[in-house]
């Protein structure tokens, strides 16, 4: 994919080269991508059908697997393969559609997904910080916008009160850690 920002140990950079490709299986079936790339991202609907085959093939060839979720897909459907999937792409049909933030939370915090979580679609500079908080690790910036410019969106001030994937403790717990006096108060009754 082009126009991509990736996070590596917290640092964001524009990716020089990225092997992943979205596969439109309607045309290409599960056959290797037209360009011959082995890094294919399948939509969940196709993934369901092909997962067994794909999973087997991946074992045999060590070919990495990628899945695309649409906003109304249930991330829990990926639970059986969560450790073997290398990349999950979540789609923002419009940047106003915030379902992928919750999908990201569920994938990371509940299903324990550790691979690359990519935002695709209407991905713009001013939402990147929120995406990063929810566990996204790469951002395919909308085609007509510059990824270089969007990088600035990740550079600025970033503080939240609540907890997030990137920041698993809410501020009221982080605060204590930062040395404010007070008893340490564990959760639980």
């Amino acid at each position: 994919m082009k126009n991509l920002i990736t996070l590596h140990s917290g640092a964001a950079a524009v990716a020089v080269k990225d092997p992943w490709e979205l596969v439109d299986t309607q045309e290409g079936e599960a056959a290797p991508g037209a360009s011959g790339s082995a890094y294919r991202i399948l939509p969940l609907s196709d993934w369901r059908q092909l997962s067994e085959v794909a999973a087997k093939r991946s074992e045999a060839t060590a070919e990495p697997m990628g899945v695309l979720l649409h906003p109304d897909d249930d991330p829990a459907d990926l639970a059986p393969w969560i450790d073997r999937i290398a990349l999950i792409a979540l789609e923002f049909p419009s940047f106003r559609d915030g379902r992928a933030y919750t999908q990201a939370f569920v994938l990371r915090s509940r299903l324990g997904f550790r691979g690359e979580l990519r935002a695709i679609g209407d991905v713009l500079r001013d939402q990147l910080v929120a995406m990063r908080h929810c566990g996204f690790s790469s951002f395919a910036v909308r085609g007509d916008r510059s990824a270089e410019d969007a990088l600035k969106g990740l550079a600025g001030f970033d503080l939240i009160y609540a907890r997030s994937v990137a920041c698993p403790e809410p501020l009221f717990r982080r605060r204590l850690r930062a040395g404010e006096p007070g008893e340490s108060d564990q959760p639980g009754t």
Partner: protein, 576 residues
């Protein structure tokens, strides 16, 4: 009052810088209007009919005198000299230039205020009632939890692009004065058997074109779970709320579609997985925030003050004002005072309900310093409150309020109208609601008559969006457009508070000029059937809407009452 710490300050300051950059990018054309819209909305900036409107949050309705002076300064320097207090404890400035917004936000941030999330499809300003912490009928102080919620919901990254706006209110008084049941989440705070703080969680309320009162999904939730429970509700909503139709996108539609039991099950399922997470509140945090709401240094006073009693006996106008515009206080010798923003219009002056001039803001700030503890509250009914006034100072305060036209003794009465800005400002309006409010206030300016009528709420919205809460007014007036002409539909029987209910349409709608006449006939009917001191809503409940409808549509007697009321009847228009 809660004071910002270094984190709070850093956040609002950074937000100003961020929005300054976004405005610059918009002005340079780098950001399209379409991309800019959600960004400006999340910073409280609307485009209205004539200009930008900036909505500033007044979290749980609490202002310091310094903050109120800052609002006055903004009104004076950047607007046309006044501001408009809304029903959700916000203030709106109607005539704002985009280029100046960053400077205004800077002024706000310097005084620990902001406009973050006062608009847009996110969690909005957390509201409570104006008498929180001082009302005699209060069970527990809701303000610390309101502030905790404010912080939690501010820039909460998962919930910034919800299907639709999301409003949360919390209250803890015998009579709910925060319209809890009209909110997406209404939280009722009460003590358990051992005095521990518990919450009743009600979800799925909202007005707008499909008015619905929320329903209970959880009883006796321990306060420590406040944030995780709200998180669970929002997560279920964010995943499953409709996004295909903005009129069906509020959480109330989801709750109705699933049924409240099924919805509650979804929420509980989600909550079970996070209830013991790091999101659970700590006592330490509660205490840290609660410090900001410590009881001020009240004097030990007698419940009765001799001077005050003497003035009550001597000055009937004062006594009347005390009766309508003051409220019982927790502490002996003190009262809470309501400042009416709804004076009877005069030939040369008429202001919208909720409007306050900069000069009035400065004066109120001074009075709060002089007679109170420098604190001011904003009420859901678009009035201001001075929460802590010694009874012995009431007379002097009253004199001062009279001189700045904020002492109209009409709180809770017919002319204490709630009204939205309507077509004079709002670009979504079907009708102009303010002239109707004005006509009613003009027609019923006889204070004796108003006092005799007793408690009655009249709410006006300029269109189906229902910003004026017409569904929960005893008398509700809704402006509708009929082929380019303005008509007004009347509902009866709405109520907020413990016995909340939604009003029902009485029949075909009316022309603006006939509304005062319609109201008059409704009131005549009320007076005719009223038993002793019965409030309007009880008479209506007892006799039903029938006699009221009849009085309006048949008229008492055409020969003695020639005023012909023009109605607009559309085929199939609901009569009930």
């Amino acid at each position: 009052m809660y004071k910002y710490d270094e984190y709070d300050r850093a956040l609002v300051q950074a937000r100003v810088a961020q929005f300054r950059d976004q405005v610059a990018r918009r002005l340079s054309g780098e950001l399209s209007e379409e991309e800019f819209v959600p960004l400006r909305l999340q910073n409280g900036l609307y485009l209205q009919r004539h200009a930008y409107m900036l909505r500033v949050a007044i979290p749980y309705g609490t202002l310091s005198s310094v903050q109120l002076r800052t609002l006055g300064r903004i009104a004076e320097q950047y607007d046309r000299g006044y501001g408009h207090f809304s029903t959700r404890q916000n203030i709106q400035f109607n005539w704002i230039e985009l280029e100046q917004v960053p400077d205004i936000l800077q002024l706000l941030a310097d005084q620990e205020m902001h406009a973050i999330q006062t608009s847009g499809n996110c969690v909005r300003n957390i509201t409570t009632e104006a008498f929180a912490g001082v009302a005699r009928d209060e069970l527990l102080d809701p303000r610390p939890l309101a502030e905790i919620l404010r912080q939690w919901s501010t820039v909460n990254p998962e919930f910034l692009y919800l299907p639709r706006k999301f409003k949360i209110a919390i209250s803890s008084s015998e009579t709910d004065r925060a319209a809890l049941r009209a909110h997406d989440i209404g939280l009722y705070l009460y003590p358990g058997d051992e005095g521990e703080m518990l919450l009743r969680v009600m979800v799925g309320g909202g007005l707008g074109r499909t008015p619905i009162l929320n329903e209970q999904v959880r009883e006796a939730l321990p306060w420590r779970h406040l944030l995780t429970y709200v998180e669970a509700v929002l997560r279920v909503y964010n995943r499953h709320g409709r996004r295909d139709n903005k009129y069906k996108a509020r959480i109330k539609i989801l709750v109705k579609a699933l049924g409240v039991e099924a919805f509650a099950r979804e929420v509980e399922l989600e909550w079970e997985q996070i209830r013991d997470s790091a999101g659970q509140l700590t006592l330490h945090e509660y205490q840290r925030v609660a410090q900001g709401f410590r009881v001020p240094d009240y004097e030990r006073l007698d419940a009765l003050d001799a001077d005050f009693g003497a003035w009550l006996a001597r000055d009937a106008a004062f006594a009347r004002w005390v009766q309508t515009n003051t409220r019982a206080h927790k502490v002996a010798g003190y009262s809470s005072v309501v400042l009416s923003t709804k004076p009877a219009p005069t030939a040369d002056q008429s202001t919208a309900p909720g409007d306050l001039a900069a000069a009035q803001m400065y004066s109120v700030a001074d009075l709060a310093d002089r007679y109170g503890f420098g604190e001011i509250r904003v009420a859901h009914e678009q009035n201001l409150v001075l929460p802590d006034i010694r009874k012995r100072d009431l007379y002097a305060l009253w004199k001062a309020l009279v001189s700045i036209k904020l002492a109209t003794p009409n709180i809770g009465l017919l002319t204490d109208v709630i009204a939205c800005p309507g077509g004079d400002f709002c670009s979504l309006a079907s009708t102009r609601s303010l002239p109707v409010a004005r006509a009613i206030q003009q027609r019923f300016d006889n204070l004796d008559y108003l006092h005799d009528l007793g408690e009655i709420s009249l709410n006006i919205s300029g269109c189906v969006n229902a910003c004026g809460h017409h569904h929960i007014g005893n008398i509700g007036i809704l402006g509708v457009d009929r082929k380019g002409e303005e008509f007004f539909q009347v509902t009866l029987g709405g109520a907020q508070g413990k016995n909340s209910s939604l009003g029902k349409v009485i029949g075909p709608s009316f022309r603006a000029e006939d509304i005062p006449q319609v109201i008059e006939r409704l009131l005549e009917t009320f007076v005719r059937y009223r038993e002793v001191e019965e409030p309007f809503i009880e008479t209506l409940g007892r006799i039903g809407a029938g006699p009221f409808k009849e009085s309006v549509y048949s008229g008492p007697d055409e020969s003695t009452n020639p005023a012909q009321i023009h109605t607009h009847s559309r085929k199939g228009e609901a009569m009930a």
